[in-house]
Amino acid sequence: MADFYQTGIIVTLHRLGRPSLERIESEMVEFSKHRPIALVLPALYTEFQAPALQGIIDELKKVKYVNEVVLTLGRATDEEFKKAKEFMAQIPYEVKIIHNEGARIKEIYATLERNGLWAGEDGKGRSAWIAYGYTLANARSDVIALHDCDIVTYSREMLARLCYPVVNPNIDVVFCKGFYSRVTDRMHGRVTRLLITPLTRALQKVVGFHPFLVFLDSFRYPLAGEFCMITDLARVNRIPWDWGLEVGVLAEVFRNYSPQRVCQVDIADNYEHKHQPIAGNGGKGLVKMCVDISKSIFRTLAAGGIVFSDGLFKSLEVTYLRLAEDTIVKYEADAAINGLVFDRHEEAKAVEAFANAIKEGASTFMENPMGTPLIPNWNRVTSAIPGILAMLKKAVDEDNK
């Protein structure tokens, strides 16, 4: 059982006692009549070949409060899209699949591009964004929940707890992010543990008090890919299409709403999905992720009036390194008391790699402060191309016939 400490300036909903799933789900069925829920699932075709997705589908089959599922499929041929459709037909309620590599959706992206609205490169950010667009076009749901498709430990309780604060009119938050621990025989979640938190705290030391840093530091797992929000947020949010997606979403939520209407909820005792190597090929791996995240944070702060200079970044690098090293000591103790494996050398190597990533992020930011890409929000898109949502709906509906 977790503690009941309220972290920072947002609302934290803990897992206290043994909450009944049946009770939450029966309440959700009632709430969802007034606030219908769309579940957005960004997935690559490779995930259809992994066992995690079948587990997720088996759980979703039992859920009675979801109005529609919008699976946004990346890197799939037409043949694979058909197979994905057959696979998703197991779900007994409405499922629509967005075929991002299909001719119709490609034409939607081309339409955006020729009107000066670039939706970014293929990735989770763009996939999620197009799914929000379809949900807005469909106009059948008031709430959007999103989670990844590679969760090995998925249970429908995760979804229920994630959506509950947004659909319950008495709680009435506009955005809810999940949190959990990622522990097997060791602690995972290196980017959150060793980059985001130390970097946020280092920035607080170097630039002083800034509301966004306090907001970001309030999240126990700011990089969690699971969140739930009202559809209005999908309309006004601009999101990055690169690895800065999660931080970028938080920045937009912070910009548009009071922190009192934002919450984080404990959705699972443990969470397991694929692990990334520190350095990968072709712009993948944790280092690339850290560069994008750093840039996203710097850009958000710059937009909030913080003046960055070479001197500030040098101090930040040193402060970060110090704080991250202190953090390793804390986690070592945490691992020791819980009998977990803890490779201090590997953790130190990760911190060094992350410090370099911050340096790279800083230098890229200084070269071009406007360089961090953001996908325009749907309000702007519909203003530029009034018929785009109708086109998107037609494209998805035709693909799913």
């Binding site: 020729r114 191309i385 018929g387 785009i388 109708a390």
Partner: protein
């Protein structure tokens, strides 16, 4: 035996004589069609270049023309679509002209009918396109006005206006195409008249009290104005 061979080969000789007479026409037809198709293709390329220079695609996206062609499940660029439509139209025209070179009476009649009908078909297409664009503008205008006036059913009103206007445009296009003219005019008059009458009755019945209040208020204001008049001694 000689007579039999005469009977046997005479049809072939007749056919050959007919063919020798007809061959130049056939050649002319083929040349016209092939040259016409090449010309149509070139016109399409020039048209595409012009449409791209004037940013026709982005204009189409903005005014809703792209959305209109997407409704028909056409996913090509608007410029490509219109370029191809023009090519097809020209190809049909050149094929008809080519067939005319055969100098067959039935085809001559068909061609003259086709050429007479062509302007009507083009103007019907134009009516549909312009009508759809105006319907979009009208609907947005009504939506903005209704939202600013605080009506709860602003979207419904805007969609109703759009639907009515599109019915009007469709009726106009069908009349232009001379398809069941009488039925179209009668159906349109009944439908449109019915809707207007229904709205008038609904507004009249629902607005009796409001109208009464407005008239009474106007009367009272008039009375008050009279009472305020300063009478000079």
């Amino acid at each position: 035996m000689e007579k039999f061979s005469e009977i046997l080969f005479q049809p072939f000789r007749d056919f050959w004589q007919w063919f020798v007479k007809f061959a130049p026409n056939l050649m002319a037809m083929l040349i016209i069609i092939i040259a016409g198709l090449i010309l149509a293709w070139l016109i399409r390329l020039v048209m595409l270049r012009i449409l791209r220079v004037i940013n026709f695609d982005t204009w189409s996206d903005k005014v809703g023309l792209t959305a209109l062609i997407r409704k028909g499940d056409v996913w090509a660029k608007p410029s490509d679509f219109f370029g191809y439509a023009v090519y097809l139209l020209l190809a049909v025209v050149f094929v008809m002209i080519g067939l005319d070179a055969l100098q067959i009476k039935v085809i001559d009649n068909l061609l003259s009918q086709f050429l007479l009908y062509l302007p009507r078909a083009l103007s019907a297409i134009l009516i549909l396109i312009i009508g759809y664009i105006i319907a979009g503008f009208l609907s947005r205008g009504v939506l903005i006005a209704a939202v600013n006036s605080g009506y709860h059913h602003a979207k419904l009103i805007a969609e109703a206006v759009r639907l009515l206007f599109i019915i009007l445009v469709l009726a106009m296009a069908l009349v232009e195409l001379t398809i069941a003219r009488g039925i179209v005019i009668a159906a349109f008059s009944i439908l449109f008249g019915g809707v207007v009458l229904a709205l008038a009755i609904a507004f009249g019945v629902g607005g009796i009290d409001a109208a009464k209040r407005i008239i009474e208020k106007a009367r009272e204001e008039k009375k008050e104005e009279k009472g305020r008049d300063i009478e000079h001694i």
